[in-house]
Symmetry: C2
Subunit: 345 residues, 2 copies
Amino acid sequence: MSDRPIVSPDVTIRDVAEAAGVSISLVSFVLNARRGPSGEYLCSASQKTAERIVETAERLGYHRNKAATSLRTGRSDTIGVIVSDISNTCFGQICRKIEKLANDAGYLTIIASTDDRKENFRQLVDKFLYSGVDGFIVAPCHGVEDSIAKILKRRLPVVLFDRDLPGVEGVGRVLLDNEKAGRCAVRILCSQGRKHIGLVRYETDIPTIIARENGCREEAEKNGISFTSAILARETMRRDIVSVLHNAREEGIDAMIFPSNAITVDGLSAINELGFSIPEDLAVVGFDQEDRSEMFNPWFSFVNQPTKLVAEYSFRMLLGAIKGDGQLETKIINPLYTLGSKIKK
Amino acid sequence: MSDRPIVSPDVTIRDVAEAAGVSISLVSFVLNARRGPSGEYLCSASQKTAERIVETAERLGYHRNKAATSLRTGRSDTIGVIVSDISNTCFGQICRKIEKLANDAGYLTIIASTDDRKENFRQLVDKFLYSGVDGFIVAPCHGVEDSIAKILKRRLPVVLFDRDLPGVEGVGRVLLDNEKAGRCAVRILCSQGRKHIGLVRYETDIPTIIARENGCREEAEKNGISFTSAILARETMRRDIVSVLHNAREEGIDAMIFPSNAITVDGLSAINELGFSIPEDLAVVGFDQEDRSEMFNPWFSFVNQPTKLVAEYSFRMLLGAIKGDGQLETKIINPLYTLGSKIKK
DNA sequence: TTGAAAGCGATACCAT
DNA sequence: ATGGTATCGCTTTCAA
């Protein structure tokens, strides 16, 4: 039983030094020493003093002041994660996993949401920069190349995920193979015997969505299946999608693809509003939805990013870049798909 | 023209001082001055120099080094948020809103998930403490009173939300009225003509769940309706809940209540597995589910925390405590409920 | 093997 | 109205 002292204001390295009867430098030296395989201190200090110092530090309840360390070293052991919306389950899961990995590696994680607006993205990047994060993992908005450049100018590593910024160099990437994801969606519908596939999206040049659409079209052609896509204005999509679906069905379309999470949400809501049933009236494949859909109506399918994998690749790549070993590369991930309540492949 | 190299790793307050031809102290003084109503600087510096200093700072792209400020002042303009699982939509939404409010108030937010394990909770509290957060907003695990005490000993403000730690003093609280939430769930089912209500939960002394159950029982008695609750082992709930639901239906129970998010997830999955349809075979009220259920089968209802309200109250209360105005109190929130795809009350 | 001392960048007290 | 300077806690040469 250790009789822990009543912790008062704060124990500094100076207190430890005094209590252990050594100099401040030595304490710092020992406390930052790497441990040998036999658990011992790899530094020039004698094992005996090293142990005494460590023990004293523990007894006093010493913890290094991060601000001071950060000021002195320029490192903060903090990484910044920026997504469009943390309450989107897909991002929530990725962030959670990144946070866990980072925590295990001794890093703190700062997470922020941009609402997909580049002014917010820029502001957050600045804020994180001035807070001294050691690296970034971001799902970028369209058109934030300048912000990324700003990070790179400070020689901080960046890993992009979920969305690409084509042409940007010097960053790591962990991206879904979106064309393959599109092909996957069509194949699911083919295997359910559908012949007339429709896709709804909003007007955009987000490469993710375009690539998915291309994948769909390609696979549909390959299978000799009709493929039609409807393009709506982003602002009024939620409203307009209802009539699009209504008309689609009138015209004999028997399956719909919603190529992003936002579209999936609006699309399924519209289907409920129209009273269509899945898959009798319309088969459906959505994208980027949570893995809890088994809770709900299990009769539609999803194509997803494997969130854990994305988190793992992203964090490992960033950590490697921060530490100096490991390098920033581009990792293309295979899509995952969910049929009903079963995950295959 | 100075013959300095163009590349400046970072602009410091000293650079600004030199460029503006004043002392470091004055720069700090002006840059920390509060602004008057007419937009001007409330400090003893003359308006002219004040303006010159600010302009110079902007021109050089100066941003204060947070580590240095934090070291010097003890403040970090950072708050720590701890939840059980950020990928749980309910927490995701609350965190997102807190983050936004904090951001607007000039604070950075650090979010972490505990997985509902108190060792994790403790570890995270320590980590946040040593990182120098200015305050905490936490959904505590059961049995972490000691961690909270540790925070309070440092005189940092804490706001609890979602879950209470009865008996802990000196903290703010933003809590759902869980008894009322339970009563609400039963009333929904009554209004749908149900007469035999069942509830499933795992073995626990989490006050949230107990209070909900009590609310249910109370309201059922008041309405002369039968109420049965099944208590499972936490570890095997996911599996056992299937047979519980099967038996319940055999025994004539016509409605189920799942009094937490975790139980709701398992419960609905089980219902899908059993092939029951809602509400023909069983009416259902879940708890703490996301607001996107309109996407899915809308034929069951939810009782929720109003996430924005929780976030707003929590953050305001914390900010008040940090700033010194405002005080920590207990705020009890009314439940929100969702019927089908419509939100009422 | 150990210690003294010079900063890191910003703040705030005390002079002027 | 402005400036000098000690200090926050820690890391890191360089000397002893």
